[in-house]
Subunit: 263 residues, 2 copies
């Protein structure tokens, strides 16, 4: 029932959190039951959804380390139909806390699977996992737990360069921990039509990767409203529904649902 | 003799690599002997200085894991007076490779100290360490090895939020692994005068932090030339000397040297 998608890219600042929050909100806006798992010690997805540090009583750390059931950690957000498992600094301690457990890479997978069995048809339609900017144990855990990956790709030179490392890591996880893993799609982000670099990166991505991996038609433009919204603890769709950033994430949600149906 | 500065911030995409490369180049341009240590598995500082994957024969991984002397790993770059210890993907394996060593956090410190003793007055004036976007063992190693820290702070909401985590980590390292560690300064980056968020973040940073930590007067503007230059394997100062990004890093270099003399 629940489709589990990890939002990954080890390159920093490419729009992982912004995509998790706004794509999640857009999917909830069209009636899907959505959960975001904040799996980054920075806790940005929690902040961006208005769940402050004081409200993060049970976090994704507790779910993987203490095996707290997922539904006990999930909290409502200001978006109807969108819930969150908060993240916070203690996530930085996951690697050490699980060092003794040979099956540590399966902790999140097991938590989500047991939730899926308990919830059945009433469960979330889509679970998005917001990952940190590294290929460390948290990201490996998320890749192992996922049906598929969403890869935000900033339209910048360094971001393109990092993609081959990411694709190699996906192959490693696919050959061992999670044989069914694939890439649902690459999402071009922070596209700035004022500068030629964006167009060049888009063209190179579609030429070099287009045959191997799906690249969404929807491109997320650079839009200041997307970076202002987190300061108000709201997704851009609630902060400014009409801005180009919100519209792009609404289009992305519908393209994703099309693709999910087709798969 | 050599002053060791780590460029750190666990928030991704805030300008750590861009600052390491362009500040390093500007310091070399005014006659300092500079080394950049690429300590990020993404290897962006190496790419941005035109040192391709094929030229990364000995990397910072070899310096910390196999104790290869620093001067054997350092390579010349296209910038006179600026050398590089390349970084590459195998850095992701440092944590596992050193797991058995109780003194693993001191590996980079020991490598740089033994270099300083061997080189004496002929050594580098400044060593910049470009860190990955995490507070994991590589960043802890770099903080332990450093005299002081440079903290690029992107003028965005999430970047401000991450600062308190960073300051707490610095205190932890200072209370144990490196009692002399301090923050040399915070560098405001990607300042976009077209959007009010930049001004708000600058104002909040100077108000909230100004008393505790030095914040450079020089602010790095958002400037597309800074993001185009890495595609040509050149620092912005060689790609376009006259652009606002290059001029800001030249000013930053002179402000840093002033501060270093004053300290
Ligand atoms: N399309 C966009 N237009 C303008 N600003 C954006 C856009 N997408 C993201 N941002 C801003 O850019 C910064 C980086 O985005 P975000 O934090 O979502 O990236 P991330 O990949 O999650 O970063 P990290 O690697 O630190 O987890 C944030 O300040 C965010 O508000
Ligand atoms: N002042 C600036 N103006 C415009 N673009 C910039 C500026 N500084 C950096 N960039 C671009 O923004 C992106 C992020 O910068 P950079 O890679 O230096 O950050 P980082 O902190 O090193 O990222 P990571 O966390 O992945 O190591 C890069 O594509 C870079 O070219
Ligand atoms: Mg994020
Ligand atoms: Mg970097």
């Amino acid at each position: 029932k629940s489709r589990i998608l990890a939002v990954v890219n080890q390159k920093g600042g490419v729009g992982k959190t912004t995509t998790s929050i706004n794509l999640g909100t857009a999917l909830a806006a069209v009636g899907r039951k959505v959960l975001i798992v904040d799996f980054d010690a920075q806790g940005n997805a929690s902040t961006g959804l208005g769940v402050g540090v004081r409200d993060r009583k049970i976090t994704s750390y507790d779910v993987v380390v203490d095996k707290v059931p997922l539904e006990d950690a999930a909290v409502k957000t200001l978006v109807p139909g969108l819930e969150l498992v908060p993240g916070d600094e203690n996530l930085a301690g996951v690697e050490t806390a699980l060092a003794h457990d040979p099956k540590r890479s399966f902790r999140l997978r097991d938590a989500l699977r047991s939730y899926r069995e308990r919830a059945g048809a009433d469960g979330y339609d889509i679970i998005l996992i917001d990952c940190p900017p590294s290929l460390s144990s948290l990201t490996i855990n998320a890749m192992t737990a996922s049906d598929s990956l969403l890869v935000p790709l900033q339209c910048e030179f360094y971001a393109m360069e990092g993609l081959s490392q990411l694709l190699r890591t996906v192959q490693i996880v696919k050959s061992g921990l999670n044989p069914d893993l694939d890439i649902q799609g690459i999402i071009l982000t922070m596209f700035d039509k004022r500068n030629k670099l964006s167009g060049e990166v888009e063209q190179e991505a579609r030429e070099k990767l287009g045959g191997k991996v799906y690249i969404y038609d929807t491109v997320i433009p650079r839009n200041v409203k997307l970076s202002e919204a987190p300061g108000y603890g709201k997704p851009a769709l609630l902060y400014d529904y009409k801005c180009s950033g919100s519209e792009a994430y609404i289009r992305l949600a519908s393209e994703l649902l099309h693709r999910e149906r087709a798969l």
